[in-house]
């Protein structure tokens, strides 16, 4: 904590963080500032005019349709986060407990599939979900009805693709958190009379929270920027914010508007990130014990 207090006066700290600072400024803060700058300009007959106005912002805030898209994107992000966690947590739990002996083999398999290009995997889902695709063929042969899968090119297919592509992130963050939990803590809870469920709720879940939050944030932010899945599986009927931004830049050639929509999206991501950091910090403080005990 003391380091934090005097960091701005300490030349050493400043000097040490200079490379990182430069990198961040050049590739992150700079572009964002430029984007922000762009939002106060105007496009006239496909030419960027360097005027200072709030026209774009007033358009963003007055046009309902933009907020429908942004709202759809944010709810998609919440939904995919929820589903990813729902899938990843039990999987990570199994990997850290029951399947402990096979953990490294399973991890290699997961990493292989993770490293396979997302475009390929997403197009793969088209083959599965298509009206005459593998999914329906299989369901038909199992006697589960003709064309039971008929949601290709709807937002639900986008969600499926997003969850499929992103659930590996929380799987690993949660797994790492679970791995760090001392087995004796679980035994101590059993010993104190707790049932398996009580032990999970009182000990395992709270102690795996850092991984849970980290994974959730990753999925949330990555879903906000999702582009591929909505294009390949969503059918373009109900676009998400990234698609809207792309159209604004490329089709409408309205850079300031595109920049403004980008800023809104980045702002939402930042707020969520800030809340998550807060939550993680709180659990960190509680958990400082781990290190002190060892």
């Amino acid at each position: 904590m003391r380091v934090l207090d005097r960091s701005w006066q300490d030349r050493g700290v400043l000097l040490n963080s200079l490379p990182l600072l430069t990198l961040l400024t050049l590739f992150f803060i700079g572009p964002i500032l430029l984007t922000l700058l762009l939002t106060f300009q105007e496009m006239r007959s496909y030419q960027l005019q360097w005027v200072w106005s709030l026209r774009v912002w007033s358009e963003v805030f007055s046009k309902y349709s933009y907020w429908v898209v942004i709202g759809r994107t944010v709810s998609m992000a919440f939904l995919s986060t929820f589903l990813c966690i729902l899938i990843a947590y039990p999987a990570a739990y199994a990997l850290a407990t029951r399947l402990k002996n096979y953990a490294s083999h399973i991890q290699i398999l997961i990493i292989f599939s993770f490293l396979t290009d997302a475009v390929l995997k997403t197009f793969g889902w088209v083959l599965v979900l298509d009206r005459n695709g593998i999914g329906n063929w299989l369901l038909q042969h199992l006697g589960l009805g003709d064309e039971a899968l008929n949601f290709l090119f709807t937002p639900r297919a986008t969600l499926l693709g997003v969850v499929y592509n992103l659930s590996v992130y929380p799987l690993f963050t949660i797994y790492l958190s679970l791995k760090r939990i001392d087995r004796d803590l679980i035994l101590a809870a059993y010993d104190a009379g707790a049932s398996k469920w009580q032990t999970f709720r009182e000990v395992t879940l709270p102690l795996s929270r850092p991984g849970l939050y980290a994974g959730a944030v990753l999925v949330f932010v990555l879903t906000l920027g999702t582009f591929l899945e909505s294009k390949v599986l969503g059918g373009g009927k109900s676009p998400l914010a990234p698609e809207l931004i792309r159209q604004t830049f490329e089709t409408r050639v309205n850079w300031p508007l595109g920049a403004a929509l980008t800023v809104v999206l980045v702002a939402i991501a930042t707020i969520v990130l800030a809340v998550a950091v807060r939550l993680v910090q709180r659990t960190r403080q509680e958990q400082a014990a781990k290190g002190a005990e060892a």
């Binding site: 035994l187 101590a188 059993y190 014990a289």
Partner: protein, 366 residues
């Protein structure tokens, strides 16, 4: 005191092809303080885990409070464990840690708070620690919180898995004293696992020495010290002299005579002979405090060994001499509390005397 609380009937435990425990039969009485002692890997911790319900015995039966335990999970057993690394919940405050078993048992909040505070007082923990997290406490305080959490639900048996091994010597001593006092006040049965026989001797009513997954000796501390089952147990605590002797049976009992030196044979009473000693050779166990450096003539029945002082350690209340002799390959260790011998310098020739009839005969195999 006489009622058994734990009754282990020939319990064995295999881990794959490795046999961790063989035929452990042990009855622990209500209110007793028993210590399971042995070198690492002797199975003492495995046995404790079986008592706690964390592991299942491969064969044998376990009764706790007259109930067969094979189908009873850890959560439902009347045992509570203090873990070696304490296993305090790092995300819970001291109060939440201690009250955890009560909350699980659905004890009302008011009673919970009262009992937690009672435990804090019993453990000499300041009430302001209630809102602290375990990491904010010192090692000794964490130890007390762990004990409080284990005892708050008034278990029939408290299991302690080397809880003091990580503490420094001084803190250890004071906690040992408190543990003994706690045991006397609560009347709970304590089962302590330790590799430190000295700690076991200090604390326990009975000591169970385990080696290689078997019980080697079970007895009161003084018995373990004075009448150890074999050479290993004898050497497990303190320092010991083993004098090789020849053994002969006579009408009056066993007669022993040192292999080297010309001493008169001494008769040993039946209580001075280990059951495992047989044949015509053995080892006479002589504790350091049994020997004395003779300044005059030996008293009747005494054996004497001549030697020179090799090393001398002043311990304050006593002086330890290591005396090189003809009769032994290793120096004879002698502890003298007398002030009259304190001036004997290193290198001085001395005569060591001891009463063979007061020593203990062991088999000559290790």
């Amino acid at each position: 005191m006489s009622q058994p609380i734990i009754d282990s009937r020939s319990i064995s435990k295999n881990y794959g092809s490795f046999r961790a425990l063989t035929d452990i039969s042990l009855t622990i009485r209500k209110g007793e303080f028993i210590a399971l002692v042995g070198p690492s890997g002797c199975g003492k911790t495995s046995f404790l885990k079986i008592l706690a319900g964390f592991e299942q015995a491969s064969s044998g039966e376990l009764f706790i409070e007259d109930r067969e335990m094979s189908d009873v999970p850890a959560a439902a057993r009347p045992t509570r464990m203090v873990f070696q690394k304490l296993a305090l919940f790092p995300h819970k405050t001291v109060e939440e840690n201690i009250s955890f078993p009560l909350r699980i048992a659905k004890v009302p909040a008011a009673e919970r708070a009262e009992r937690v505070r009672g435990m804090m007082d019993l453990m000499h923990l300041r009430h302001e620690y209630l809102t602290h997290y375990p990491a904010q406490l010192s090692g000794g305080e964490q130890q007390r919180v762990a004990l409080a959490r284990a005892l708050v639900s008034r278990p029939g048996v408290l299991l302690l898995d080397e809880p003091m091994s990580a503490l420094d010597a001084k803190l250890k001593k004071s906690l040992q004293a408190e543990l003994k006092k706690l045991h006397r006040e609560l009347g709970t049965s304590f089962v302590l696992v330790t590799h430190d026989l000295e700690e076991a001797m200090m604390l326990a009513d009975r000591i169970c020495v385990m080696v290689g997954g078997r019980i080697v000796q079970l007895g009161v501390p003084l018995d373990i010290y004075r009448r150890p089952a074999n050479r290993f147990v004898a050497g497990f605590i303190g320092e010991t002299n083993f004098l090789p002797v020849s053994v002969a049976s006579t009408a009056d009992g066993l007669s022993v005579r040192p292999l080297r030196g010309d001493q008169t044979a001494a008769l040993l009473g039946a209580d001075r002979v280990s059951p495992e000693a047989h044949g015509d050779a053995g080892l006479l166990l002589i504790r350091p405090e049994d020997g004395e450096i003779l300044s005059g003539a030996p008293s009747p029945g005494m054996w004497t060994i001549a030697g020179t002082v090799d090393e001398k350690f002043t311990k304050g209340s006593s002086t330890q001499y290591r005396i090189r002799t003809e009769a032994l390959d290793v120096p004879f260790v002698l502890e003298s509390s007398g002030f009259d011998t304190a001036h004997i310098p290193v290198g001085a020739p001395v005569s060591v005397g001891f009463h063979p009839a007061k020593s203990y005969l062991l088999g000559d195999r290790p």
